[in-house]
Structures are given as C-alpha cells and as structure tokens.
C-alpha cells in the first residue's frame, strides 16, 4: 500500500527540512569543513524553545543564546567532531558526518531509539529523511552509554556520495512481509 505525499515543500508541510531550509540552516557548517574530518550537522530549522545542545558541547562550538528559541549556530572551526551533542537533542536532529572516512566512503552517525539494535559489522539498508532506501551501509559502531540515557547512537559506513542524504537505518524495510 502506498500513500501519496502532499505537494508543498518544507518541514511545516512534509515533516522534512527542504533543500532550501537545510542550505539556510546555521547548524550546518560549510563544505570545506566537511573535508577536514568529523563534524556535527544540526538539522534544526524551526525556532522552538530548546537549548540542551548548547550545554552538551564542551568545545563551545554550539551557540543558542537568548532567547532560547534561537536556532543553534554551529562553529565548524570549534567543532571537534566528538558527537557528544547527538543524544542530547530531544528532536534527534543532530548527526555526525565524517565525509572522508576512506576514499570512497563516509561515516554517518545518528540516534536510533528502536529495538532490536543492529549488530556491529552487519549490513543494513540505509535511508534518507523520508525513510526511503538509498544505499546499503555497514554498521561500524553501536554506542550505548549511560550518559546517552537509552538513546543508542549508530555509526554506519556508506557510499561517500550520500553523506548529506543518509540519516537513518531504513525502518520501512522491516515492514516487508508483515503487511
């Protein structure tokens, strides 16, 4: 069964940040910074009252400031790519991207609050912001720390061309055969 989408673009209409919204998002650093190593990608495009990310960052790379509804601003020069902010975002909207993991692959890390968790080393279908399949990825790491309070962080190795597209393990795939 497929349910067609509505036409209008943008997070307020589809639940997915549009290309334009992401391009204007102050939580996403510049292209050059991605070449230099792992960096946080804060896909937060709506002014909501929230600031735990600012306090999660010990490098001072994330600034929300006052009022609390301001969008988080990421300073790519200060971000050390530690990923400490990921599990603190109640919106699960922060990702860690290591574009040049190898010549052909990138690492993308994201919060994942579903069971069962994938096994490290396994191949999983990876999807985009709409949950649709993009490419297969390899689970490099599954992080479950006390500090992250039940939110697992998953690191997948994926084809480099999708480093700004892949944001989850495909949940849709798990539905197949259950209909």
């Amino acid at each position: 069964m497929s349910v067609p989408e509505t036409a209008k673009d943008g997070i307020k209409f589809t639940g997915i940040a549009s290309r334009e919204e992401l391009a204007a998002c102050p939580g996403i650093t510049t292209g050059e910074r991605f070449e230099k190593g792992p960096v946080a990608v804060i896909e937060c495009v709506q002014e909501i009252p929230c600031n735990p990310c600012e306090h999660a960052c010990s490098s001072g790379a994330i600034v929300v400031g006052q009022p609390i509804t301001r969008l988080p601003v990421l300073d790519g020069a200060k971000c050390i790519g530690c990923g400490a902010c990921l599990a603190f975002c109640p919106g699960l909207a922060i990702f860690l991207v290591h574009k040049n993991y190898t010549d052909t692959s990138s690492l993308v890390e994201f919060p994942y609050e579903y069971l069962p968790l994938p096994a490290e080393g396994s191949l999983v279908p990876c999807g985009g912001r709409d949950g649709d399949f993009i490419a297969e990825g390899k689970v490099v790491k599954v992080k479950q720390t006390r500090q992250n309070d039940g939110t697992a962080l998953i690191v997948v190795e994926i084809p480099k061309e999708y480093f700004m597209d892949i944001r989850t393990i495909c949940r849709k795939e798990t539905y197949h055969g259950q209909g």
């Binding site: 509505t6 209409f13 639940g15 495009v45 600031n51 999660a56 949950g131 309070d149």
Partner: protein, 371 residues
C-alpha cells in the same frame, strides 16, 4: 465543619507536573501541603512521557519526562508532602479559614480544610465525531500512550493517527518504538501543527504525514477493520476523488486538549474565553491566583501548554500561596520574576508567540476583574 477535620495549609488538587512543583515550592517554604489525586499514582502524564523533553537545559530539558517525574516525586517526598491517591475531588465549600475540599476515597466521603487551594487538574483529550467513531479500536492518542508506555500493551498493529500537534507526532513515534506500524498521520489543516523535529522522526521511520486530510469513517463490525480518509480543500471540504481506505485496526485521535475546569467553576472563579488556550479559562493574576482569594490555578487548567510551562506555573502558585500564608523567605519577589522570565522565554518563537499573546490577554482579564 466537623470537629477534627483534616487540615492543611495548602491543598493541591492534581499531582501532575504543576501540582508537584507547587507542592515543592510551598512545602519548601515551610507549609504543610497535601496533594489529592484521583489516579493510583502521582505524576500526571509525566510517567508516560518517555521522550526527552524540549526546553531549557537548566530546567531539566534533554531529560525524559518520566525521569523528571521521578525526581519531582523524590523531592515532594523528602519535603514531607502528603499525597492522597485514588481520591476524586467532588466538592469545594467556602469556609472560615479557607476552603473545604470533599473527596472520595475507598468508597467513603472525606474532607480536608485547606487554608489555600491550588487547582492543578490538567486537561482532557478532545473527541472527534465521525461514523464508526464508537468502534473498539478508536481511542485518544493519550490513551494509546498510557497503554504502551505505562501498561506495556500495544493497542493495535496498524495505526492511523489523526492530528499533527506534538501529542499526535510524539505518540505516533512511540507507537513505532513499541512495534506498531503507523500507516499515516493525517492533519486537516494544510500544515503540521507540532514541532518539525518530531515530524522528522516519524518521516525517517517511513510514516507518511498527510496534511489537508481527515478521517471520514472507521469501518468494521466488532472493531476497526479499515479507515476511510479523504483530502480536503482550503475550506475543509472533502475533495472529490481523494477518498481512500487504509487497512488499519486502530485510530488514534490527537485533536487537542481542553482544560479540566469543573472545580474552578465550582469554586466560583470568574472565567474568560480564549480559544487558543482551549476554551473557558479561569482568570488568574501574576501569582496564579484566581478571582477567588486563596484559590490558585496552575498548569493546563489555565490553558493547554506543555509540561515545562506547567511546572513553572506550579512553582509560581506554590510560592505565592506560601507568601500569602506569611511563610515566604526574603527572595520571593526575585524568584517570581525569574519564573516569569523563564516562562516568557518558553513562549517566544513561532510556536510560542500565540500562547504568549493569549496568556497576556488572560492576565489583562485579571486586571480588569480586579478593578
């Protein structure tokens, strides 16, 4: 009044986030505080909020609602607050020295005299009328959330969520976490009502969000077997040719909350009508005191918002009640100003602005009533 009637300096009706925070502030100032709650455990809706809360880091944002609930309970316990459970309050009577609060417990009528009364009764889910809406399998989203997160029971396997406010979005996500399939989240308005980040979570999980859509009927004999939805035009009229049937076994309705104001009516509080806050709202001033002296209101009863603002309003009411009892320490004025600054900050931005304006209107009604 019977001789030997139970007494407290502050009686709080409702042990949710607002009531617990009111108790903590009042008891912290030295008041003898009793909370009365009709449920079998305190915490209101906090213990089914298994997601991490938004808000300010200094005020427990980033922490899960259930964890916040546990912390608040510990605090009330350590401050010696008495919590009476399974006790619906059914009567309020003005009396010398305060208000007599009548409640039922273990099938008996009981009463307590409170010098100050704080109403923190919360809000209830709105219903939606549609053919088949009485079939088993149609339920409030809050009900489904209680089933999965408190009672660990999955209400259905194939779910249609109606309503895209934060409740609809969050409960849809939690149903996915609990192992259900959410076939679609539909919203009659042409846009998503809640936070985009909550919407993004369920989109990443593969759940479509259909704005400009409504449910036309639930179909089934003894229970929901399928659900018919349709697209809507800009006047909320069904668009020809857009009706379709989803093979769902459950419909969750998340179409807003209405403040539970019965006790405020009973107390004789003056009301105002503010649709953005959920309808009839008891008028209150900056101290959360209603137009009846010594009767305070805090949390969703003063307009549906979020737990973060409910906790702040509860603190205000608790501080003000203690102050009125002559118990307050020197910093009362500063504490109240700090709380107002935090609440105003929570009510900024595109989502908060309308609530800020509505709350400002409500305080304006209080000033008018005082004249």
């Amino acid at each position: 009044m019977e001789r030997g009637m139970k007494k407290a300096q502050v009686v709080i009706v409702g042990g949710g986030p607002a009531g617990l925070c009111a108790a903590i502030e009042a008891a912290g100032a030295g008041a003898r505080v009793v909370i009365i709650d009709e449920n079998n455990s305190p915490g209101g809706q906090l213990f089914k909020q298994i997601h991490k809360f938004f808000g300010s880091f200094e005020h427990k944002a980033g922490m899960r609602g259930c964890t916040i609930g546990a912390r608040l309970l510990e605090e009330t316990k350590s401050l010696g607050v008495e919590v009476i459970l399974n006790a619906p309050v059914y009567g309020l009577f003005k009396h010398e020295g305060g208000m007599v609060v009548s409640y039922a417990q273990d099938g008996r009528e009981k009463a307590i005299l409170g010098e100050k009364l704080i109403l923190a009764t919360g809000a209830g889910e709105n219903a939606l009328a549609f053919p088949g809406g009485t079939l088993p399998g149609v339920m409030g989203a809050g009900c489904a959330q209680t089933m999965i997160n408190v009672n660990r029971v999955l209400p259905g396997k194939r779910i249609v969520m109606v309503g895209s406010g934060n409740v609809g979005l969050i409960v849809a996500y939690q149903l996915l976490q609990a192992g259900a399939r959410v076939l679609a989240l539909i919203e009659a308005a042409p846009y998503i009502g809640g936070y985009g980040v909550h919407a993004s979570k369920i989109r990443r999980a593969g759940t479509p969000i259909l704005v400009g859509h409504t449910i036309t009927r639930a179909i089934g004999k003894a229970q929901v077997e399928s659900v018919e939805i349709t697209g809507l035009d800009e006047n909320f009229q069904a668009l020809a040719g857009t009706a379709r049937v989803l093979e769902a076994d459950t419909v969750c309705v998340a179409v807003g909350l209405s403040p539970l104001t019965e006790l405020a009516w009973m107390a004789g509080c003056d009301f105002t009508w503010i649709p953005q806050l959920g309808g009839h709202i008891p008028i209150h001033n900056e101290n959360m005191e209603t137009t009846i002296a010594g009767v305070y209101a805090a949390g969703d009863i003063t307009g549906s918002e979020e737990a973060s603002t409910a906790m702040e309003e509860g603190r205000l009411a608790g501080i003000a009640a203690a102050e009125a009892l002559g118990l307050a320490a020197g910093r009362t004025k500063e504490m109240k100003l700090e709380i107002w600054a935090r609440m105003n900050a929570l009510r900024t931005g595109p989502f908060g602005q309308r609530r800020f304006e509505a709350k400002t209107q409500l305080l304006g009604s209080a000033r008018k009533a005082a004249q």
